[in-house]
């Protein structure tokens, strides 16, 4: 089930907005602070220039300072934004040589002033002022009284400059955001175009086309394309398997059906009831084999399409083995054999497998044992734990299998070299397939002096291992 979860564009757009928003906020704060600072710096420099210009105009006559305020200094002070302009030239006692000062300068400031200059903010009835002061002394032949030059102006210029600087940053930023948005959109289009190409290519594929994709994709899409190719390959493999299996199965079914047909035909030709009987007996036996074969084929097909996705509950292997053994022991087929249960472990062994598949596999093993051993043979089921594995074995004391055939026993339509006996040769293939599905291993071994042992190694459920492992450890101490 494919669910639509947002869109890439929207997600990218969202991230862009968030990023730009956060970044923008930080940038705006920074821009605001720095434009304030830049404006303050620029205007403080003008204040200093004005103070310097006034200081230049100070003359000492017989050690007494005199000043003619230069008009230019006031124009510098006023700046382009026509700030109010204030100046004062004081002697060291605070007496004004020249001033248009609206307020008194705090005495402390006057005393603190030295050659280094001083900048201060001052709030007056005329609004906030920015002041700058400079102490001017000059070398001379006679003692010269130093003077203080104070200049100040209102803050319109600073505010206007800061605002315009900020607005410029803001407009640059907005332009950048818009441009980024447009570029992002274009980039997204360009970046997603391989995806669109891929989509078109997949959409245009015919249903039975499992050939690998031939597409040029960016690195990021390589994995997706490869996964798709892998999927196609698996599908192709699956289809081929299915075709082969169907072919095999129909071949397998055709043979006994052909036998049935000839036997029944022969029987019908004859008028001797004895021959009828013989024919019917043969027909019955062959029909039974054929139906069993059909059942096994079905099982095999089902096993191959087992859904591996679902998480399975852990089941008790011992209980399942007992149940299967009881089921089979009660059957008519087992009436001539000694089918029994060997040792079972005291503790429950939990495995995560599909119960019906394991039943099927066990049933086939039991069926095989019953089928390929003479009457009266013992068939015994054993279950034990070995480390992280459950060892489930079916042991018979029949004739066993030729050593050369042991390796190929798990493959379909192999009869372990026992072509003489009845059977399709599918039983062990079912077991093998089931085992592989369950992560289990199958072992075939001849026993001495005679007999066959088939061992299923099943991995124990992980969470159970811990507990039993701990129990084991405790028991061993």
């Amino acid at each position: 089930m494919i669910e639509v979860e947002g869109s890439l564009k929207r997600r990218l757009g969202g991230w862009l907005v968030v990023t730009v928003g956060v970044l923008g906020l930080a940038l705006m704060v920074e821009a605001w602070v720095s434009s304030q600072r830049a404006a303050a710096r620029a205007f403080d420099a003008q204040l200093q220039a004005a103070a310097l210009t006034i200081a230049e105009a100070v003359r000492w006559q017989d050690g007494v300072p005199q000043v003619v305020v230069p008009a230019a200094a006031l124009q510098i002070l006023a700046t382009d934004s026509q700030a109010r302009v204030f100046y004062a030239v004081l002697d060291d006692d605070g007496r004004a040589l020249s001033r248009n000062w609206p307020v008194d300068i705090p005495a402390a400031w006057q005393q603190a002033l030295d050659e280094g200059g001083m900048s201060r903010d001052l709030t007056t009835a005329l609004g906030e002022l920015r002041l700058h002061a400079q102490r001017v002394a000059s070398a001379g032949w006679v003692t010269q009284l130093p003077v203080q030059v104070w200049v100040g102006h209102t803050l319109e210029g600073r505010r206007a400059l800061a605002r315009s600087l900020f607005e410029r940053s803001l407009s640059r930023f907005v332009a950048m955001v818009l441009l980024t948005g447009v570029l992002m959109g274009l980039t997204m289009r360009a970046a997603l175009s391989p995806l669109r190409r891929l989509r078109r290519q997949i959409r245009e594929r015919s249903a039975d086309d499992f050939s690998p994709l031939a597409a040029r994709v960016p690195k990021e899409l390589l994995e997706l394309a490869q996964a798709l190719n892998h999927l196609f390959a698996r599908q192709r493999q699956g289809r081929e398997d299915l075709l082969r299996f169907t072919a095999d199965a129909s071949h397998q079914l055709k043979t006994p059906l052909a036998g049935l047909k000839t036997v029944s035909e022969l029987g019908l030709r004859s008028s001797d009831p004895d021959e009828w009987r013989q024919a019917l007996t043969r027909v019955h036996a062959r029909a039974e084999d054929t139906s069993r074969l059909a059942g096994q084929l079905l099982s095999l097909a089902r096993l191959r399409h087992l859904d591996q996705e679902t998480a399975l509950p852990a089941l008790d292997l011992g209980a399942l083995v007992r149940e299967v053994a009881l089921d089979w022991a009660a059957r008519e087929r087992a009436a001539e054999h000694d089918l029994g249960l060997g040792s079972l472990p005291a503790e429950p062994l939990k495995v995560r497998v599909e119960a019906w598949a394991l039943r099927e596999a066990l049933g086939n093993l039991i069926d095989n044992a019953l089928r390929y051993t003479p009457r009266g043979c013992q068939v015994t089921l054993h279950l034990a734990r070995e480390g992280d594995w459950a060892r489930l074995s079916i042991v018979d004391d029949g004739p066993g299998v030729a050593d050369a055939a042991l390796a190929t026993l798990g493959q379909p339509f192999q009869r372990g070299g026992r072509q003489d006996t009845e059977g399709s040769g599918l039983g062990l293939a079912i077991v093998d397939t089931t085992a592989r599905r369950m992560g289990a291993r199958v072992q075939f071994a001849n026993r001495s002096p005679q007999g066959l042992e088939v061992v299923l190694w099943l991995p124990l459920a992980k969470d159970e291992q811990g507990v039993t492992g701990a129990l084991d450890a405790a028991a061993n101490q």
Partner: protein, 409 residues
């Protein structure tokens, strides 16, 4: 008719009759005082009885009209006031024609507890108009003006306003004037150089016959002298020459014009062109000459007083001054010359520029003017001027330098 540079300035013909009524400012002032004093006292009484009621009466009434404290001849400005009354008949208006000093006193008079002269001492004027630009600037810098806003303000040229608080709304060239007779004896001066040469060569003949604004006792005269000293490196030579020619110092343009007309003076330097041009129309014996080398331009400035009792009406008045309509009256019916570009009429700054050329140096409303009112600087300047006028050599080179005499800005 066009005025070609270098030609004698001939008066414009299209002046209204109203402007031509000759009357001295003093007489006018006297009349105003005698008419309005009882009323004002009554008004004061009403204000005292009403407590702080006056604060709320922002709408001017006949008893409490919009007061304009102005250094601007009533007969010159009358068409403008008429136009205003016509446009705003609901605003009663009192125009107080004063000297620049009286205007300046009226601005701060109410702050100092009625020490200042004039009947309006206890009350701030609503609108202040003066040609003493440095003093106007200083008052505005002190925060005594109210900031204005609106389309008229936006449209007003930036170079003619400061902080949107004070507005230079006229464009009055500063001129030379001489008696027609002068040209019979000598080539009349067309430039400052001519004047200097004339004073040097014709000193004996011109002795006592030359007049100019006193920089010592007239704000306008001081401003013009300061500005001359900034622009012309040879101004101080001219001052010396004028001193040697026993130049008479006057405090008003009108006095100079009347002296010329009556024959007491032959030559006048630094007269307000606005008055002189009107005067010359009526007095053909007086010839007005816009200097060919450079000509200062005085700009009268207006602002709404911070403590104006009728803020709204005052703003209306100033905006009217600056509006197309007001400026059109200025350009057509007064010799004050309109500043606003696009206004047509005989008296516009633009037209003056095309006639006289680019040699017009307007005194702009900016912070440099503040230096002129600095007492120390003023004292230094007037001392220096006096010394040069009286024939002493330069007392202090620094004064000349700082006032621009040695290094023109």
């Amino acid at each position: 008719m066009t005025l070609q540079s270098g030609q004698r300035f001939r008066p414009f013909r299209c002046l209204s009759a109203r402007c031509s009524v000759p009357a001295t400012r003093r007489r006018l002032l006297g009349r105003v005082v005698s008419q309005w004093l009882p009323l004002s006292l009554l008004m004061l009484l009403v204000v005292l009885l009403g407590g702080c009621h006056s604060e709320d009466t922002s709408v001017p009434t006949d008893d409490d009209p919009l007061v304009i404290s102005a250094a601007l001849d009533l007969d010159v400005v009358a068409p403008l006031l008429d136009a205003f009354r016509q446009a705003y008949p609901q605003i009663p208006l009192r125009f107080e024609d004063r000297t620049t000093r009286e205007v300046d006193d009226s601005v701060v008079g109410h702050l100092e507890g009625g020490q200042a002269t004039g009947e309006g001492a206890s009350r701030a004027p609503d609108v202040v108009i003066s040609s003493a630009m440095p003093w106007q600037m200083a008052r505005v810098n002190e925060g005594l003006a109210r900031r204005l806003g609106g389309p008229e303000i936006e449209r007003w040229p930036e170079w003619a306003r400061w902080r949107d608080e004070v507005f230079a709304f006229t464009f009055e060239p500063v001129v030379m004037a001489y008696r027609l007779d002068l040209s019979r004896h000598m080539l009349p001066p067309q430039t400052h150089g001519d004047l200097h040469a004339l004073l040097a060569t014709q000193a004996r003949w011109l002795s006592g016959k030359v007049t100019t604004y006193s920089p010592l006792s007239s704000g306008v005269g001081y401003t013009l002298a300061q500005q001359d000293a900034r622009y012309s490196s040879r101004f101080w030579e001219l001052v010396g020459a004028m001193g040697r020619a026993d130049t008479r110092l006057e405090t008003t343009t009108r006095a100079m014009l009347e002296g010329l007309s009556q024959g007491r003076y032959w030559l006048g330097y630094n007269l307000l062109g606005s008055y002189a041009m009107v005067y010359a129309q009526e007095h053909p014996e007086v010839i007005v000459q816009v200097p060919r080398d450079y000509s200062l331009v005085l700009m009268r400035m207006a602002f709404v007083h911070r403590d104006a009792p009728h803020v709204e009406a005052a703003e209306t008045f100033v905006k009217f001054l600056l509006s197309q309509r007001g400026q059109r009256v200025l350009a057509g019916q007064t010799p004050l010359f309109s500043v606003l570009p696009g206004v047509t009429g005989p008296y516009t700054a633009a037209r003056l520029r095309t006639q006289v050329g680019e040699r017009l140096y307007p005194i702009l409303p900016n912070a440099t003017l503040l230096a002129f009112v600095d007492p120390a600087r003023r004292e230094a300047f007037t001392d220096h001027w006096r010394a040069r006028f009286q024939g002493e050599p330069a007392l202090d080179e620094a004064v000349e330098r700082s006032s621009g005499a040695l290094a023109p800005e």
